[in-house]
């Protein structure tokens, strides 16, 4: 992979230049947390963060997004007809996204880009965005990306990966989109073989620092109904308050709701993030609810990520190991522990039932 040097002295000026052809987003400090925000001209992203509190998914898939516009005014010739909402899909770049969050876009694409249907909103926004990632030299104790298909130096989903090496960044340019961004920023100083070796050295150090892992190798062979009926779900769900924090923060949760919102006679059809943790998610008009109990909803979240997805896409778990749900759950429910329960589960009595 092509590597270039970016002297830190050329970082701000390069971004300024790139700003002529790209809208720029990056982490900004807000209180004790960081959030992705659009950068004003001359503003540089804060790169001293571990990770943002909310994932970067909203940059491609906003928490609330207009799909269509309409008027209900019978005097208008197009009344009651849905019209495509105007959108800005001009080129934009996200600076400083972590590798796990970039990988999450690859994962979520499996939901929005299918052989039968393509979600135009997600796909156009994804196409418009260039991801300039920042490698993690100092992962958190809750990060388990290396056993979730990603890694602190993974380039999956990224167009450029920046590796901090003191006075400069070593930038791995992974795609033509990344190439175009580097050009727009005027970063073109090729790096030598030593740079690749330095990236590799740093990668090994960072990977070795991740001491949290999940075992997932038995998930596929587990029987769905057996896992579904396992007795541990009551325990797992006991403390959950169904707040939905885990699903909102998660870069790989993609569920949404569709609502019409009318003010006077003008309105929009919107889609909003939704959560399998909420009873309304599955409530029928008749009052019947297939996941009316908390334990059913908690089970759905974990079964989806660690079993249904695993079986459906044969591409690992629906989690990149960012650790957000672990860090922010108000009652300390930990997906790593649940994964262990699911992965290692055997029917009680199995050991005595063996007949040869």
């Amino acid at each position: 992979m092509k590597v270039i040097y970016i002297e830190k002295a050329q970082w701000a000026s390069g971004l300024e230049k790139a700003g002529d052809s790209f809208r720029l987003w990056g982490p900004v400090r807000r209180g004790q947390f960081y959030a992705f925000e659009e950068l004003a001209g001359g503003q540089v992203p804060a790169l001293d963060f571990r990770n943002t509190r909310l994932s970067a998914k909203g940059l491609v898939y906003p928490q609330s997004e207009k799909m269509f516009e309409y008027t209900l005014d019978p005097g208008q010739p197009d009344h009651d007809l849905l019209k495509e909402a105007q959108k800005d899909y001009s080129p934009r770049a996200v600076l400083g996204i972590r590798p796990c969050d970039a990988d999450a876009f690859e994962l979520v694409a499996r939901n929005f880009d299918t052989p039968e249907y393509q979600d135009p909103y997600w796909l156009r926004a994804r196409e418009a965005v260039t991801l300039v990632g920042l490698a993690c030299a100092a992962p958190c104790s809750t990060c388990f990306c290396t056993s979730a298909g990603s890694g602190p130096f993974s380039t999956k989903g990224l167009d450029i990966l920046l590796v901090d090496s003191g006075g400069n960044f070593l930038a791995q340019v992974a795609t033509p989109k990344g190439e175009a961004f580097a050009q727009a920023a005027g970063w073109r100083q090729p790096a030598d073989d030593a740079a690749a070796a330095e990236i590799d050295r740093q990668r090994q150090v960072a990977e070795a620092r991740i001491d949290s892992h999940v075992a997932t190798e038995r998930l596929r062979q587990q029987d769905t109904l057996t896992l579904h009926a396992a007795p541990f779900w009551d325990d797992v769900a006991f403390a959950c308050i169904n707040c939905g924090t885990c699903t909102y923060l998660c870069p790989t949760c993609w569920c949404f709701d569709i609502q019409d919102e009318t003010h006077g006679r003008q309105g929009v059809r919107l889609r909003n993030w939704d959560s399998c943790m909420f009873p309304l998610f599955t409530l029928h008009g008749s009052g019947h609810n297939p996941r009316g109990q908390k334990v059913q909803r908690v089970r759905q979240r974990f079964m989806h990520k660690l079993k249904y997805y695993v079986d459906k896409y044969e591409n690992g778990i629906q989690c990149v190991g960012c650790g957000r749900c672990v860090r922010h759950c108000p009652v300390n429910i930990d997906i790593r522990k649940v994964c262990e329960l699911m992965n290692s589960y055997t029917l009680a009595g199995d050991s005595c039932a063996v007949v040869s």
């Binding site: 799909m67 849905l82 579904h228 029928h284 059913q296 997805y309």
Partner: protein
């Protein structure tokens, strides 16, 4: 890129109040743009999202048969926000439909087979579509015996009463209409719950006979043992499910049963398939 969320514009041509409690109305819809009708090529058993601008969308089974041209038809129970608003709409009003969505009844598999249709209450909509489809002169010879067991609380709660009477008069379909109870002295059909009538009237199972069953959970619960006793294998029992839906195309995540989406992989499943899935429906 085709936007799968954009409905086709349709105009309400006719509204028929089906039941004596006035809670079920049939809407006959015509496409504003005739080319859309061709794009909306469907098979019996599929559904569509009915879109009422300003209120939202609801998934409703297609009650017309693909052999009926020039319109599509839906029968809607008055339940909540969107369905109640639909009930206030008038012929000539504009709305939208999105689809066709989901799989259908397995028509290739059913070719040359006997079909036993068992329906209860207002879940008779896609069953009507299936009957009209199979009885079409171009199709009737492609199927063996057709039995229909259909029940409602009372005579006035049966859907499509004129058509039912027409089918009763034919000799190429065995109709077994029933009501839970009635004090109508002129009622000339069966009285009794659907499971009971199924026990009496449904043919014995064989490899060439498939049952399609749609109805309220309580009806399904008591009909299934009857079919078991008659020898129907679970891969010969076909059901159509309803789960809450929004997108209808397998993306919004809410209608799943295990790894399957009712909207995209269903709504039609065999009982054998359902036996291997969590009971989240």
């Amino acid at each position: 890129m085709q936007n799968p969320y954009l409905p086709y514009a349709v105009r309400i041509e006719d509204i028929i109040t089906e039941t004596e409690d006035k809670n079920l109305k049939t809407f006959k819809l015509a496409f504003e743009n005739p080319a859309d009708e061709e794009k909306f090529a469907y098979a019996a058993g599929q559904f569509a999202e009915l879109s009422v601008t300003g209120k939202g969308e609801i998934p409703i089974g297609i009650a017309s048969s693909p052999t009926e041209k020039g319109f599509v038809m839906f029968t809607v129970n008055k339940v909540g926000l969107v369905s109640s608003h639909l009930h206030t709409m008038q012929p000539g009003d504009l709305m939208g439909i999105r689809g066709p969505l989901g799989n259908s009844y397995p028509w290739e598999l059913l070719e040359g087979k006997n079909v036993v249709i068992i329906g209860g209450g207002f879940a008779f909509t896609t069953l009507r579509a299936s009957i009209v489809y199979m009885l079409d002169p171009a199709n009737r010879s492609r199927f063996g015996d057709i039995h229909v067991i259909y029940g409602a609380r009372s005579p006035g709660m049966l859907l499509y009463r004129d058509e039912l009477a027409g089918w009763e008069a034919r000799d190429d379909i065995h109709m077994h209409i029933t009501v839970d109870a009635t004090d109508d002295p002129h009622w000339k059909y069966n009285v009794g719950f659907v499971p009971t009538i199924t026990e009496k009237k449904a043919p014995q199972a064989d490899a060439e006979t498939y049952a399609i069953i749609c109805g309220p959970p309580i009806m399904i619960k008591f009909t299934q043992p009857v079919l078991d006793n008659l020898g129907y294998g679970h891969d010969h029992i076909i059901m159509s499910l309803e789960n809450r839906m929004k997108c209808g195309i397998g993306m919004c995540g809410r209608c799943n049963i295990g790894r399957h989406f009712v909207c995209k992989d269903g709504p039609v499943f065999t009982l054998a398939q359902l036996n291997g899935m969590p009971k989240e429906y």
